[in-house]
Amino acid sequence: MPRLRIPGIPPSEITPVELFRSRRAFLTTGAVGLAALAAPAQARLPARASPYSTPEPLTSLEDITHYNNFYEFGTGKEDPAQQAHSLVTRPWTVSVEGLVRKPAVWDVDTLLRFPLEERIYRLRCVEGWSMVIPWIGFPLASLLRQAEPLGSAKYVEFVSLHDPRQMPGQRRPILDWPYREGLRLDEALHPLTLLAVGLYGELLPNQNGAPIRLVVPWKYGFKSAKSIVRIRLVEQQPVTTWMRAAPDEYGFYSNVNPAVDHPRWSQARERRIGEFRKRPTLPFNGYGELVAHLYAGMDLRKFF
């Protein structure tokens, strides 16, 4: 009598539990990813970690989103959090133009398809405080390379949105609107220079410069223009908004430099938000190893 044979599954066919779980996770991620395309506002942005990130403890999301300088929404630190809801970030386009072979107008959702990275950067405000912010974004260089800058392009100008209906702070002539910033082309192409579209894993809150902003971590915060609509490659050094407002106080470079004081206050130390005691400010905000060579031979007192 043949022995009863229970039809079984050979062990070789059984999926190891770890693999099974990782497949589930993959499907979940995929579903979340699809949801992300459908409803970007609620989604976590897919971003890989970056070796450029600092291991320092992060500033809280609450502080990052409620202590802002974004004069388009008022000059008080709490104003942007209260006022920025009036900013409409979709549809939104960014024009890359000027001295480039391939000018283009990019839809911001297309820009979100650039490989995104999480970059945890120190941010040092010219006012003497600092934060550690987990940005999500991609190198500005990736976008500029697509545009193919011409040999004559020496500088990049960034222009923020100008719409007093959406940006109530622009109804007062506090600054010469729209906000303009600029970088030398080599600064713009530096791998640290980021176009940020998110922070803390999600899309940028309006008060932090949604939908897309610049982050240049070795320069004072105001260099990192918010809510950008135009990126223009030019031959002459652009006149930035703060240079126009107070040329003796804000230079084109505005690299973080503890040795060069603001004419009205010291830049030697900073208060890290969330900390009580002040800490010394580092040259180039601690990114000197990566960027100091850009300024070799330059008198940083003159080119402040």
Binding site: E62, D63, H66, Y67, Y71, T75, K77, E78, E127, W129, I174, L175, A245, A246, D261, R264, W265, S266, R271, I273, G274, F276, R277, K278
Partner: protein, 203 residues
């Protein structure tokens, strides 16, 4: 005890005017104390306390300067009794403001503080305002008034210098938006004009 009828006629508000103003002048400090219990002081608590105590020092200073014009305008003589207390509250908040800076901003690094006072015009102005206030606070007692006689009033004209230095201190610290310093400056200009114009007329 004297019979009430022999006393000079008392204004009905006299009894509670001073205590009410006293408590009102303490509310900004009480507010800071309450906010400090939670996260109410925001992302940068030291900056919040510095700005708040500085603002209230200036407010009480301007209110002090408003007493005499207000008394002339309304004929409500009882207001004069508030002047010393209001002036001392201005000094009290200015002291808190200075202490916040010395302690929580500079952590008593006297070399750094000295450099700040010399190099930063807004700190020079703030320190000037405080140093000019000091003799006024010290001579605010009845005994000192009697001892100094006519010189007391001369000395206390320093308060105009204090107010001008304080407004400059505020204006020079602001990065871009001068709205508030200009507002305080305008109030001060009005209060100075309220004194200057009658004085010029008398000449």
């Amino acid at each position: 005890m004297e019979p009430a009828s022999r006393r000079p006629a008392r204004h009905p508000l006299r009894a509670w005017l001073k205590p009410v103003v006293f408590l009102a002048a303490l509310t900004p400090l009480a507010r800071l104390a309450v906010l400090a219990q939670g996260d109410g002081l925001g992302a940068n608590p030291v900056e919040f306390v510095t700005h708040s105590t500085g603002t209230w020092a200036l407010v009480w200073l301007l209110v002090t300067l408003a007493v005499t014009p207000a008394r002339r305008l309304t004929g409500f003589g009882e207001l004069a009794r508030l002047r010393r207390m209001l002036g001392l509250f201005a000094f009290f908040y200015a002291s808190l403001h200075l202490l916040t800076y010395l302690w929580w901003d500079q952590f008593f690094d006297w070399r750094e503080i000295a450099r700040d006072v010399v190099k930063r015009p807004f700190i020079t102005a703030g320190m000037t305002a405080y140093l000019l206030m000091l003799p006024l606070a010290l001579t605010s007692t009845q005994a000192m008034m009697r001892r100094l006689g006519r010189n007391w009033q001369r000395l206390h004209r320093l308060v105009y210098g204090v107010a001008i230095a304080a407004v400059c201190h505020y204006a020079w610290l602001v990065k871009r938006d001068l709205t508030l310093p200009l507002l305080y400056g305008a109030v001060l200009a009005l209060l100075l004009a309220a004194r200057a114009i009658p004085a010029l007329r008398r000449q």
